[in-house]
Amino acid sequence: MSAAKKVFLKGNEAIAMAAINAGCRYYFGYPITPQNDIPEYMARHLPEVGGEFLQAESEIASINMLLGAAATGVRVMTSSSGPGISLMQEGFSYLAGNELPALVVNMSRQGPGLGGINATQGDYFQAVKGGGHGDYHLIVLAPHTGQELYDLTIKGFELAEKYRCLTMLLGDAILGQIKEPIDPWKPEKTAGDPDREWLITGARGRQPRLIKSLYLADGEMEKHNWRLQEKYRRLAAEDVMVETRHTDDARLVVVAFGSMARIAKTSIEQARAKGLRVGLIRPITLYPFPTATIGEISRQGARFLTCEMNTGQMVEDVRLAVENPGQVEFYGRPGGSVPTPEEILARIEETYQD
């Protein structure tokens, strides 16, 4: 990598810059800590490229403005954190039912309630298990470095368009505030296909179109739901992303995502330096979850240590993925504290059996 062309940016800014470079020209949002760098960046830079930034009256309005824009097929995004994401859940459900592509960033903050503004992973369940009503999923991406925030923002738009789904980029205060040199590459594709047969444009010279999620006629609702499920099945078959490290000979495999995975990478190297055969599985897509990879590695007989900045959420999916749920231990810290590499190392040493 050439250092010359890199830019030194906060994670939040990296997301915003990536979105603009990916062709996103519309942002609707409402201020909330710790993600305000994103709307601030958008407010400053979208007008420079002919785009539009609008500060909404609430997160409920933001997500519905996004819905109205997404129906036209443009790349559009919003961002928020914990309480704001809770308010957006209604919109997420409608976007899923309407099958509209867009990107939402959750720089999550500690909860429940008003909570705190520091790093946490307490929103895992909300992100991957729904939160809004109905049988739907978001595509959930979990970056762990500044560069990955940038790259997955671009990927997020592409996946959203491929599946007509909402993509959530799930980060936290560490990822949002960390500054790193970032390669601000530009993707070739900066817009969805303008000929998609569902785009709302005004019915010029064609039959009127309809974006809706209400299905009252006999059998229609079930048919619609099966179609959504078929999309999720294809998503799981084609677009799972996961990083593995040192898993070939591992006796203990740490499973972690986002900031926690990055901290654990140091712990794992520390453990290896002590002669412990420790590996890492880092889900990059939290939905779809890398169930197959975890299942495969679990058949090597290694023990698993799931590490999260919460009291145990992803660990449930890890237990469902492994051959024997008894293989899986958990280390977690709830919102309010960030573990150091040494703390994770201590738990690795406790759990490790050669």
Binding site: L54, L67, I200, G202, A203, L210
Partner: protein
Amino acid sequence: MKQIFARPASLTGKNFHFCPGCHHGIVHRLVAEAIDYFDLRERTVGIASVGCSVFLYDYFAIDVIEAPHGRAAAVATGTKRVLDDRIVFTYQGDGDLAAIGTAEIIHAANRGENITVIFVNNSIYGMTGGQMAPTTMLGQQSTTSPYGRDCQRDGYPIKMAEMLAALEGPSLVARVAVDRPPNVKKARKVIRQAFQMQVENKGFSFVEVLSACPTNWGLNPQQAVKRVAEEMIPYFPLGVLKQKDVVDVL
């Protein structure tokens, strides 16, 4: 033979599902006439709301987005910001606009968002089966105010047009009724002006239409029309409450 009356081209021709005596059909027609008048059918996007008017898309031969309950003005904002050369209107009832969607409508109005809002006020929740609305009259019985709306408990019927007219943002705020032919004629004119405002990029226009809901009021159509005239209009006075400059096209 000279044809003097026809279905507006912006309507599909599908028979309305509305109850006998319901005014949605008239309001639909007036909106379609306005769209036809300015030849907007192929560049209009309708935002359907939740309630009896959700089936807008069955009746209008235009592109439609179905909004979550109360959020039509926010959805319209998103669409209009992208398609700023297209015409975007919402069509909302009183539960949708004046209860759950109050924040969205006030802020869209205050931004002077260049959209048109048709607000059908029939003083009750129709589709869910006759519950109390924010516009339900004092003393009016509904399934959730079975002893009549009580201002001590439920507050007062909310006057949306007056509220929005107090803001700087809107360009046109009016209240009309469709209970009798002279009022229908006035409503036609005002609804047309509301679309004209948008065509001329003059900003936010809002037309509240007092309407009858005979089924949920427990009245027959004649009695319901009488109630609009005798109970609703005195409390919700008709007229143009606010209007920035617009050329009279009639």
